[in-house]
């Protein structure tokens, strides 16, 4: 039984029986709010009843709840249609239907951050009260940061409107077990703004009769009434949003990999070429020699093998008939590009496509840099490079060959042009720094490759190649083709640590190259026309600054006799190009504190050492020079790529990758023809998951339990009137092409 003091206040409640209606959103505590109101009146010794109007039971969906209060036992089992008190917990719900059945003079309590004056004229016929319950409840830490529960706060304002003394509220909260929320209720009690009704104001018109009319008996419609608009059950709705595919995210050149592969899958090779040409001036080259970070990142690698993207790119490069196009600009800029390697070519290509004038200054007699001189013909036939170069030059780029640029020239170039891109590549090749390195039969690998490309030479006996990168592999395979009896490749770390492309290492071994891992030459001795190479075994030593364990020389040695020793240890990055008073900040040159329109790109700036990095770097330099910014950040560098866990593997049949067609000549000597013929057709493209990119596969449409997804004009449309926000389409999408988004009210 309640305390007598509270009982007395029942007299303060006028106009019983009273019906209360609460409008809120699922999760906001609307049903509990009505229950608390009933609890408050029950404390006053009155009969109460309260219930929710249940439908969707989903967070964020509109919810109604009711309470009845009377001095006599309540004999009603139906909903409330003519509330004397109306509480609206979310201002966004304040549509015309909210006022259905609410008579002039009724109480309307609104949770809103707006002051009373904001609503002037709108609710004048009602007893209208406003309160920022959300702010008060948040301040008092009721609920969580994202879901603030306001019902206990609202009740404080409601008690004030009823004219109950604060003491009654205190007692009620103690009895209802809400003592911890009392401070918020007291704040609401103190701050609620109340306006009395004005008799003269017009009542707001309501669109429907309330309560709905009683139907004539047995005159029900032959057809069923209009369906339930389930769209208002949800607070979320699916959205078709592109997410970065891991291949795109990984490509240093910035290629739209998933775009061109999907175009191939749909049989649109012209679109595939057009997409590649956006970022890729050298598809025939990269389609052969790229280490393909895209394939390492490919989500299909975790399923049944990465998509053979490199060879698909080659297919596009080799077969494209269309050419990249050039835009027209009103005031073309004139840019000098120093260096005709991949970075310089890429920069010139992007500048020319954008309608500007680019002149390449190349020190050597031909364009292509290391592509022309350092990659053997059996891996990159010269006519393939030539095809890519012709496509680039067709954009109107001028090339001044055999024109080295020195320090003094750089200042002049800068003066004579609107901007300069410096892309001179790596510096000198690294050496071993051991005794005997200057003997006649010791040679740098890159020099050897360039010489052999000009004029094949005859080797015999054993050739030792030192290094583990692609140049080392190229040297080894070239030596075989020059007639070497045996080729041994010496590498100081484990075979799995070799930076060369794995397929290339496998090919070299198949051709007979012997890989000697954990070995390093420590001395070379002359032995007539031959040389003795002392090889020490290596062990993993302590970790270096990068965390990698440095190999250290042991005392265990062996001596090999070789006719030739080729060094492929990488190249340094020392350049002496900057005139006096110039400095580099990031990739941009400065004269004192003055920023110059001179940007460095490719290996001389980044030293990544791959064609694809050089292409990406050249493109960014071109963009930076046109916008005069310091660095260009691409959107794909920021967003996270689609992870394997987001792909529904069970939606895809297991299908092994289409492998490249490899040729294994019986004898290599003198045969420099290409050994990898790539793919026969584009069938491999259909293995692409199309991560994060909708393919209009209709899985969402088929999976929708409500049948409210339709495809029209190459897009899906979700009917917001009926989508319940169940998320089935998102769960079923094979490729993470859809996500649930919060609905905006």
């Amino acid at each position: 039984m309640q305390a007598k003091t509270t009982m007395d206040h029942a007299d303060l409640i006028p106009d019983l029986p009273l019906e209360v209606r609460v409008h809120g959103r699922g999760g906001q505590g609307g049903v509990t709010c009505a229950k608390l109101i009933a609890g408050l009146f029950s404390q006053l010794g009155l009969h109460v009843q309260t219930f929710g109007d249940y439908g969707s039971e989903r967070a964020g969906a509109p919810v109604q709840a009711y309470a009845r209060i009377d001095r006599a036992p309540i004999r009603n089992a139906n909903k409330v249609y003519r509330p004397g008190h109306l509480l609206v917990l979310d201002e966004a719900l304040l549509g015309p239907h909210i006022l259905e059945g609410v008579e002039p003079g009724a109480l309307l309590l609104l949770n809103t951050p707006q002051p009373l004056a904001h609503f002037a004229g709108r609710f004048d016929r009602y007893r209208f009260a406003v309160l920022d319950a959300t702010a008060i409840a948040r301040e008092h830490g009721i609920g969580s940061a994202s879901v603030v529960i306001i019902n206990t706060t609202i009740l404080g304002a409601y008690a004030r409107i009823l004219g109950l003394p604060l003491k009654v509220l205190d007692e009620a909260y103690a009895h209802l077990g809400l003592a911890s929320d009392l401070p918020a209720a007291e704040a609401a009690f103190a701050t609620v703004e109340i306006a009395e009704p004005r008799e003269t104001a017009p009542a707001a018109p309501t669109p429907h009769a309330a309560p709905p009319p009683v139907m004539p008996i047995l005159q029900h419609r032959a057809d069923t009434p209009a369906s339930l608009k389930t769209g208002n059950w949800s607070s979320q709705i699916p959205a078709y949003v592109e997410s970065p595919a891991p291949c795109n995210h990984a490509c240093p050149a910035g290629n739209d990999v998933v775009g061109f592969v999907q175009a191939l899958a749909k049989g649109d090779s012209a679109k595939a070429a057009a997409l590649l040409f956006e970022t890729q001036p050298l598809p025939s080259v990269c389609g052969r020699v790229c280490p393909a970070p895209c394939m390492n990142a490919c989500n299909r690698a975790a399923f049944d093998g990465a998509v053979n993207i490199r060879s698909l790119e080659r297919l596009v490069g080799d077969s494209a008939t269309a050419t990249p196009t050039r835009e027209d600009v009103l005031h073309p800029q004139h840019i000098a590009v120093v260096g005709g390697g991949p970075a310089g070519l890429s920069a010139a290509y992007q500048l020319a496509r954008a309608g500007h004038l680019a002149t390449i200054y190349e020190a050597g007699p031909q364009l292509g840099g290391v592509l022309a001189t350092g990659i053997p013909a059996f891996r990159l036939p010269p006519e393939m490079l030539q095809r890519d170069l012709e496509r680039i030059l067709a954009l109107g780029i001028k090339a001044r060959l055999s024109t080295p640029i020195r320090k003094a020239d750089l200042a002049t170039l800068t003066k004579d042009h609107d901007g300069v891109v410096v892309a001179v590549g790596f510096g000198a090749s690294k050496s071993l720094g051991i005794a005997g390195e200057n003997l006649g039969n010791v040679e740098q690998g890159l020099a050897f490759l360039a010489r052999v490309k000009e004029m094949p030479e005859i080797l015999s006996g054993t050739v030792i190649v030192v290094g583990g990168g692609n140049t080392a592999i190229d040297c080894a395979r070239t030596a075989l083709r020059c007639g070497a009896d045996k080729v041994k490749l010496v590498y100081r770390r484990a075979k799995k640590d070799m930076p060369a492309i794995a397929e290339e290492i496998a090919e070299a071994e198949r051709e007979g190259v012997m890989v000697m891992a954990h070995r390093q030459p420590i001395a070379i001795h002359e032995r007539g026309a031959l040389a003795d190479v002392v090889l020490a075994e290596m062990e993993a030593g302590p970790a270096d600054a990068s965390g990698r364990r440095r190999p250290v020389v042991t005392a265990r040695t062996a001596t090999l006799t070789a006719s030739k020793i080729l060094l492929a240890l990488g190249q340094g990055n020392e350049h002496d190009l900057l005139p006096a008073g110039w400095s580099l900040r990031g990739a941009r040159a400065y004269h004192g504190e003055q920023a110059l329109p001179v940007y460095f790109a490719g290996d001389c700036a980044e030293g990544e050492g791959t064609v694809t990095h050089a292409i990406g770097s050249g493109r960014k330099a071109a963009a930076a020079i046109l916008t005069r910014t310091h660095a260009v950040v691409l959107a794909k560098d920021v967003a996270l790529p689609v992870a394997p866990g987001q792909i529904r593997f069970d939606a895809f049949p297991v299908a092994a990758p289409h492998a490249d067609r490899l040729i294994h000549p019986a004898a290599f000597a003198g045969d420099f023809s290409e050994t990898n013929l790539g793919l026969a057709d584009a069938a491999e493209a259909s293995r692409c998951f199309s991560c994060g990119h909708c393919t209009l596969c209709d899985t969402c449409l088929i999976s929708c339990p409500e049948g409210v997804i339709a495809q029209r004009g190459g897009h899906y449309r979700v009917d917001p009137e009926y989508c319940k926000g169940c998320g089935m389409c998102v769960a079923e999408c094979p490729r993470a092409g859809i996500e649930m988004q919060e609905k905006r009210v």
Binding site: M1, K35, A38, G39, S42, H47, V48, Q49, T50, F51, G52, Y54, E57, I74, R75, N76, A77, N78, K79, Y81, P211, P212, V214, M215, I217, L218, H220
Partner: protein, 386 residues
Amino acid sequence: MSSQLLSANHAAALATTLAARANRKGKGFVSGVYPITPSTECMEYLCNQKIEKGRVVRVESEHSAMGVCIGGAAAGARSFTATSSNGLAYMVENCIAAANLRLPVVMVVANRTLGPPWNIWADQGDALLLRDAGLIQFYCASNQEVFDTVLSAFRLAEDGRVMMPVMVNMEGFILSHNVAPVEIPQQGLVDDFLPLTDIPHRLETVPHTLGQVELPHQNECHRFQHHTAMLAAAAIYDDIRAQFEPIFGRALQGALVPYRCDDAETLIVSMGTMGITAERVVDDMRAAGARVGSLRLRLFRPLPVDAIRAVFAGKKRIAILDRNIGLGLGGVLWSDTRALADPGAVVQNYLTGLGGGDVRPEHIAKIVADIAAREISGAPMLMEAV
């Protein structure tokens, strides 16, 4: 005794908890539970109660939930479950087993429309699937009634002369989720009211089989024993009512709730919450001079035939309201009771509130006006309640 604001779901669970604890010195308590809207809150509440000698087992289906109750009762424990709609439909086979095995399982059903298409709101058609299966059926109209009926259902089910399942019905949401004050007794009073569960045929030290093969004549005898026990249950329920009031200090509602019937010419007959609304309408119409009364059936199986006939006697017009439809015939309450009216009386069936439609006083007033204009009984009529 204390008054608490409780939903009917929670009231049912609290009554069950008190009954479960009252058996702590006996064979304890067992409940198999599986959630389904709108009865889920009942089981949630029960799962959170402390019961000294009892186990609430969460299983993978309603069929298994009743299986747990059968096992518990067969071992001699007090047992309980709750369900709704298609969950009850899935439970039906084991409900029949519990009934035929004469196990005193108490179950609460929050009545909900059978799907598909899916509708989560009130319709008594789910419980009426088991109309003829040998379970006692009550239909309630208020939170207090749910509490009191569940409590006394254990006493009735476990009475040695009855010994069969008792189903306590409440309309989904309209009652299951309605929150109102409920008088809750102290544990000691419940201990006084409920004797320790004693199931004489429980599986114990002497090995025997429950539900073995039986021959036609054996089956005939078992069925008739069950039928006879069920017919006797109404009188036993009245005995229980007589003991309920002195212990708890309030009356336990009877099998029938007649309201201003004695001099009525027109009778509104219903089960569940529509009966409460009908009483309001009776008051309003009486004030306007109409001789109207209401009869609410709380006990539907066994059907209190004689008591109903006594109330129907002398009534010229009887409007029978059904929140259910026996497809191919009409309302189930109407089809079971229409023959009990005086010859020549107009007995008209109104199907209303199907699928959870909101039945307001205006609907019932319209029904009374409709029957007042009738000279003869017609086919069951549908009344839409939006």
